[in-house]
């Protein structure tokens, strides 16, 4: 869907809204603080047949479900890649617990695990829109870009040199698109991936994969940190820090009004935004894991996770297409020179006139670099919105 949905507001209303959002501090129509999200209801595991699923429902009535299905797929062999079938010794007796040594493995065989973008297939469905609608395609591109941008995610799908998991993400908005659904879909996808589990691998090396038939033994795609997983007892570094494991990315919608930065816009707010950005962020502990323990502790005290920017997209704010207001000076109804012909009046509307206080004028031109920088910085702020959102999502019971 297009971000530019028609909003039934008059130029005067638009101007009022814009003005109140530009105040310091801004006043939002629903009374939220700039960084406050709309309340939401979230749950996971709603589709028993999937590897992972989630549903999130925003207070405005938009609701999305995401299902994740995984399939074993043969990796196309590149010439020159030697496949080892019968490795003697089987590499370092990695028979610890298979649930949580994921990170350790990454370190040990970091160069071996490779991933490809084609291992993830994402479909987005918005009711009432064709699946090849440009808006839908853009949404899907943004969501998968966030997943694939740094190439870290697909590495998790690596089974061995010959096989990998192919992940099918089905993202469905089940309510009418009442507001731009990007944040909703992103959060739901995040939650679904958090709850995704893949059958436990029993085979070793480059053998044909062979899996444990016990679902309860299936490890999470994003291994749980110790707070929620009882089996992580052996991994001491994990037990020390409650929530530093790598999480799936989230994509947030951020707007700027003058110098104000506002998160999670409602439909009306988006309609008057100067700049709207989709910022994809991930939290990872890869750096903290490789560095010493002392630094880890610092990181933990300072908010727990290190955030990384994955991608930024500017969203064309719908405000650009809104009709401008007409200053009283030019308004015939207020006695502005009736002598001016209709022709003139039209010119007056479209002409680049000086901004008149209280008269709506659609924003023009791109975002200023300063503003962009501020937006990104605000997003990545430690202990800021992203942390808050991630903490909140972590609180969702995965079942």
């Amino acid at each position: 869907m297009a971000s530019s949905q028609h909003v039934l507001l008059s130029p005067a209303e638009l101007a009022y809204l814009h003005a109140s959002l530009s105040l310091t501090p801004p006043i939002r129509p629903d009374g939220r603080s700039p960084t406050q999200f709309r309340p939401l209801v979230a749950e996971t595991g709603i589709l028993p047949g999937t590897n992972g699923s989630a549903r999130i429902c925003f207070a405005d009535g938009t609701e999305a479900i995401v299902g994740v299905k995984a399939e074993v797929e043969r990796t196309a062999q590149r010439p020159g890649e030697e496949t080892v079938f019968l490795e003697e010794g089987g590499g370092g007796d990695g028979d610890g617990d298979d649930d949580d040594d994921e990170e350790g493995e990454t370190g040990a065989q970091g160069d071996r695990r490779k991933g490809e973008a084609s291992w993830v297939e994402m479909t987005v469905e918005i009711p009432g829109l064709r699946d090849d609608d440009s808006g839908t395609a853009f949404l899907s591109a943004m969501l998968s870009e966030a997943l694939l941008a740094d190439g870290e995610f697909v590495k998790r799908l690596w089974i061995n040199r010959r096989f990998h998991w192919k992940l099918y993400l089905d993202i469905i908005l089940i309510s009418p698109p009442l507001s731009y659904p990007l944040p909703l879909l992103s959060l739901t996808t995040h939650l679904a991936l958090l709850s995704t589990r893949l059958p436990r691998l029993k085979s070793e090396g480059d053998e044909d994969p062979f899996f444990d038939d016990d679902w309860a033994a299936a490890p999470y795609l994003f291994p749980r940190s110790s707070s929620s997983s009882a089996t992580a007892a052996t991994n001491t570094t994990a037990t020390k820090q409650p929530a530093t494991a790598t999480r799936p990315p989230i994509t947030l919608l951020v707007m700027a009004f003058g110098n104000n930065i506002i998160f999670d816009p409602s439909k009306e707010e988006l309609a008057v935004a100067d700049v709207a950005l989709a910022v994809s962020v991930t939290s990872s502990n890869s750096s903290s894991n490789s560095s010493g323990d002392g630094e880890n502790d610092e990181a933990a005290s300072a908010g727990g996770r290190s955030l990384r920017l994955l991608s930024i997209r500017t969203i064309d704010p719908p405000s650009r297409l809104t009709p401008p207001g007409v200053p009283n000076a030019a308004n015939a109804a207020y006695g502005a020179a009736a002598a001016l012909g209709t022709q003139k009046m039209l010119e007056a509307r479209t002409a680049e006139t000086e901004a008149v206080e209280g008269v709506w004028r659609a924003p023009r031109g791109g975002a200023k670099r300063m503003v962009l920088g501020a937006l990104v910085q605000k997003t990545l702020e430690r202990g800021g919105v992203v942390d808050e959102v991630l903490d909140a999502l972590e609180g969702v019971d995965l079942g």
């Binding site: 209801v41 749950e43 595991g45 709603i46 028993p48 047949g49 999937t50 590897n51 549903r55 429902c57 479900i65 995984a70 399939e71 074993v72 043969r74 079938f85 019968l86 059958p199 029993k202 085979s203 070793e204 090396g205 480059d206 053998e207 044909d208 994969p209 062979f210 899996f211 444990d212 038939d213 016990d214 679902w215 309860a216 299936a218 009882a230 089996t231």
Partner: protein, 986 residues
């Protein structure tokens, strides 16, 4: 906002619905998460006859009947549970001691929990099938309780709980529920519900929860014949204690993981096949894999790596410098490992000193040879895909019994030597050595650890004294897996109610007559061996006005009595064939059908399935038709009677004339067949003559071939071919046919070489015709038997004929090599072969007599049937031959006869002699020639063995020798067998 998940509070039926989640890996490599909803019920009965409440609530079928309750109201008690008890075994109990449950002295009133049954099916299909047949037997009172579906006994898996723990908990829960449930019945004597388990944790938990529970050993000790039963608790039970005592170093290399093997096999680095042990050398095995034209050799204990004959194994080819020639030496396990002590497991080395010596000989021989080209690829076993262990018949090795064991009742370890030479010695722990010595016993293998030289097994039951007829016959039946138990009641229920009084209905309006042709007026007769009771086939012929002949082959209409998919049909499809032993016949169908209602007895009307040809005087088929019919056989001849009648010029009645016509036609048919390249093969066949009263064998006769035999054979072949064409035309995908693959050329390499070297004959194997011709040329004018000898040896190079479903092969592959026929099936003996019965059903459908039954049309089903009957057919042949061999031995007992024999095979330390008079062959070792063992020189190029020293003889392949045949009890296999002594060389 309401959750989309099914929540417990909102759903009034939530308590009744549960779900099961698991991962399934499909063959194609897909991995799926599966969620099954489980709907819990409260009307699954406990099936105890004591219980009134279950009787009220138990579901009824459409006719309002309830399944009868199984568990007895007054079950047997034990010393600990005098009030009576029901048993609830866990999976391990069944896995380790299924034989115990099959005992008739104890183990009644057993509750088999669904969770146990399912786990058992996943772990071992054969055990599962045995348990299922136990639950079907009425006298044992085994009841399958669907605990997972009953609300009260269903449990959900807890967080962090392993599947096994959960299942154990489910068992305990069910036991507890049964206990409470039975108390509520208010019966005077409430039976205890006892859990049987060998799992210590499970037993401990049960104790904690106050559930009556016993280990197998504890339980068995409470029974009366504890000692016998204790032996049947397998080795593995006390394994923990053994391990602690002796942390034996692994002797054998570890197996690869399953996935590693499968990957290797798929990528072509490893090979999968069935492991076969050489009958002459227990340290040499071979495995035929698709990737190589010749079988791979597996030499030595370490390379064989615990594989047992028949196992499906994965092997890795060894580097070329380790390739060897197949052994030319006879190595017998008994001779080499004679002095091993079953108790002391010498952990030092798997390859014992003596074995190593035997192998050294080999190596020296290979090295001394310059002909490197002869070396064959060798391989080593890296894993076992599927064990093909069955129950083995054997006897205790007397020498392994310690003196103290003869008296005491303490558990003792002995070796059991299986009757089948290809099976290694099995270590057995038993308390009843004294009773078992000198008996045929049935044992099973439990395990073969890496740290154990020999496999470990446990005792199942005793068949009786060695060399008693009953024990030996049963031993043979068990060895060849012949189903010899009497037909169960469900099968007998399928027989016609009239029994022996059944007759062809008089009125032709009867539904039995529908679409049947009345052929009662024809002069039909049957020709069979003497004393044949199950007469499958009858014949007739008559001249037609146009100068042609009408010939009819009438086959017993078994399919009229055996309807697809009923209990009788299922039983017959499992048995597959009737097995003929010397003194016994194991029927495929109940007696009533086989020898009476189906059998085409003379003077009575019988239903038949007729094939009617019009043949030209040159025996060309003018046309053929098939019809169901009613016939009345005029006479049942034996081959000899028929032959006499034909030969007797004075007999000029119509019946005799028609037999003469048939005879004339059959000779033309045979000539045509031979012209097409049909092989006439040979196997040494003999017949044991028995004293009619005591059925003791008194003499052995070689079979005489009569023209009448070939008469019947020719027309049966003709009928089979005609039927095969018809059913293939009607059902190109699912016709049941029989093929005989052309043998790979390499099979004949050795024989051809032997013939060339020894006699200068060329064996050409391009086609069956060429082979037949070259076999015809192999004639030694001085020795008439030589040709037969060559044919016997050629027969052994052939492939086995097999049944198959037409959709599985391309048309050119249908060919029957031996008969030189493009297409062939079996149609003419439905009383004794299941394949014929299927062919009957297909032919009936092909001629529009009846609608085709889905079971006869489903390709998967037919393939399974073919697979089974191929195995059964082979086993039946082997069992029959073994039976003859046994009786030949019995007939020779106490006599010594001097006979002529021929050298069939030569080794560097012995040779095999065939005595055609008795159809037996035996190995004469060098050490049997003279004492001390003469030195010998073996020339593999010319197949000559020259001995020197204590006795000087030269033995060549194909040579005629004079041997003294005596009987001798083979101290190792316990078989009475023939022993030959070389008297002289011609």
């Amino acid at each position: 906002m309401a959750s989309l998940k099914r929540s417990v509070d909102s759903d009034p039926f939530a308590a009744n619905i549960s779900s099961k989640v698991y991962v399934r890996s499909t063959k194609s490599g897909k991995v799926q998460k599966l969620v099954r909803e489980v709907y819990l019920r409260q009307d699954i009965p406990c099936s105890s006859r004591l219980c009134g409440s279950c009787r009220e609530s138990a579901p009824r079928d459409a006719a309002g009947r309830q399944t009868p309750f199984i568990l007895s109201e007054a079950p047997a008690g034990t010393s600990v549970f005098p009030q009576g008890h029901y048993l609830v075994p866990d999976t391990n109990a069944f896995l380790t001691a299924m034989d115990l449950f099959e005992q008739s002295s104890a183990f009644y009133d057993v509750i088999v929990l669904q969770v146990v049954l399912e786990e058992l099916r996943n772990r071992s299909l054969p055990l599962y099938n045995r348990l299922i047949s136990l639950t079907k037997s009425e006298e044992k009172r085994f009841y399958v309780f669907f605990n997972e579906f009953r609300l009260e006994t269903h449990i959900a898996r807890q967080e962090g709980e392993s599947v096994n723990d959960r299942n154990d908990r489910a068992v305990r829960k069910a036991v507890a529920w049964y206990g409470q449930h039975l108390t509520r019945t208010g019966a005077k004597k409430v039976p205890a519900v006892v859990m049987l388990s060998n799992d210590r944790d499970n037993l401990r938990e049960a104790k904690k929860e106050g559930i009556p529970a016993c280990s197998l050993a504890e339980y068995v000790k409470q029974l009366k014949d504890a000692d016998t039963l204790l032996d049947m608790i397998p080795e593995t039970e006390d394994q923990d204690t053994i391990k602690e005592k002796r942390p034996g170093e692994p002797l054998y290399p570890e197996y690869f993981t399953m996935s590693k093997m499968m990957t290797g096999v798929k990528s072509g680095l490893l090979h999968q096949g069935t492991f076969n042990v050489s009958p002459y050398n227990y340290l040499e095995g071979s495995i035929r894999v698709p990737a190589f034209p010749k079988p791979l050799l597996i030499l030595g204990r370490e390379n064989i790596n615990r594989a047992i004959d028949g196992d499906l194994v994965v092997v890795e080819v060894l580097p070329k410098d380790q390739w060897k020639e197949p052994s030319t030496q006879v190595i017998e396990e008994e001779a080499i490992t004679k002095n091993e002590n079953p108790d002391a497991e010498e952990t030092a080395d798997i390859v014992s000193e003596k074995e190593r010596k035997a192998l050294q000989e080999e190596v020296r021989r290979t090295h001394s040879k310059t002909t490197e080209g002869h070396a064959q690829p060798t391989a080593k076993v890296v894993g076992v895909v599927k064990r093909n262990w069955r129950q083995y018949v054997g006897h205790i090795d007397q020498s392994s019994v310690s003196q103290s064991a003869q008296q005491g009742r303490k558990q003792d370890t002995v070796f059991v030597i299986p009757m089948d030479r290809k099976i290694p010695k099995i270590r057995l722990r038993t308390r009843q050595v004294a009773e078992l010595v000198g008996k045929r016993i049935l044992i099973t293998i439990d395990a073969w650890d890496r740290s154990s030289r020999h496999p470990i097994g446990h005792f199942v039951r005793s068949l009786g004294e060695l060399e008693t007829k009953a024990a030996e016959t049963e031993a043979l039946l068990l060895e060849y897996d012949v189903q010899y138990r009497p037909f169960p009641k469900t099968v007998l229920d399928c027989l016609p109610k009239e029994g022996h009084d059944w007759k062809v209905p008089e009125s032709t309006d009867d539904p039995g007559w529908r679409d049947r042709e009345d052929l009662r007026h024809l002069l039909i007769c049957s020709i069979d061996p003497v004393g044949c009771q199950d007469i499958d086939d009858a014949l007739h012929s008559r001249a037609l006005p146009n100068g042609n002949f009408e010939v009819g082959v009438h086959i017993a209409d078994v399919s009229h009595f055996v309807k697809p998919n009923n209990a009788m049909d299922t039983e017959a499809s499992i048995r597959g064939t009737t097995v003929y032993m010397v003194d016994k016949r194991i029927d495929m169908l109940p007696m009533l059908l086989g020898t009476d209602l189906c059998s085409l007895k003379p003077y009575v009307e019988r239903y038949a399935f007729s094939v009617l040809w019009e043949l030209s005087p040159d025996a060309d088929i003018v046309n053929v038709r098939f019809t169901k019919s009613v016939i009345k056989s005029r006479e049942a001849f034996s081959y000899e009677q028929a032959q006499l009648r034909v030969d007797d010029e004075s007999q000029q009645d119509d019946l005799t004339k028609s037999i003469r016509t048939l005879m004339a036609l059959s000779k033309k048919l045979k000539q045509k067949r031979l012209d097409a390249g049909a092989l006439s093969l040979s196997s040494p066949e003999v017949k044991v003559q028995m004293e009619s009263e005591t059925s003791d064998p008194i003499d052995v006769k070689t079979k005489v071939l009569l023209d009448t035999m070939s008469l019947v054979e020719e027309f049966m072949l003709l009928a089979n071919v005609s039927v095969a064409r018809k059913i293939y035309e009607a059902f190109p995908q699912t016709a049941i046919l029989r093929r005989h693959g052309a043998p790979p050329k390499t099979n004949f390499d050795e024989l051809a070489n032997q013939l060339r070297v020894k006699r200068g004959f060329e064996l050409s194997v391009e086609s069956s015709r060429a082979l037949a011709d070259s076999l015809d040329r192999c004639v030694d004018p001085a020795e008439p038997f030589f040709n037969t000898l060559v044919r016997i040896m050629a027969t052994r190079c052939m492939m086995a004929a097999e049944y198959f479903c037409s959709g599985t092969q391309a048309y050119p592959e249908f060919r029957h090599y031996g008969l030189a026929s493009e297409i062939y099936t079996h149609f003419t003996s439905p009383i004794r072969r299941y394949a014929d019965l299927v062919a009957h059903r297909q032919l009936a459908a092909a001629i529009g007599y009846e609608a085709i039954h889905p079971a006869v049309r489903s390709r998967g089903r037919l393939e399974a049937v073919c697979k089974n009957i191929n195995v059964r057919h082979r086993n039946a042949q082997l069992a029959g031959r073994a039976s003859i061999a046994y009786y030949v031995g019995q007939a020779l007992r106490g006599k010594a006869t001097d006979e002529d024999g021929f050298v069939l095979k030569i080794f560097s330390n012995g040779f095999v002699v065939l005595v055609p008079r008795f159809g037996i062959e035996a190995l004469i070792r060098l050490r049997d020639l003279a004492d001390p063992e003469p030195a010998a020189e073996y020339d593999a190029e010319t197949y000559t063995l020259r001995t020197s020293g204590s006795r000087e003889v030269t033995v060549e392949l194909f040579q005629k020798v004079r041997v003294r045949v005596t009987d001798q009890k083979d101290e190792t296999t316990g078989k009475r067998g023939v022993k030959m002594e070389l008297l002289s060389v011609y």
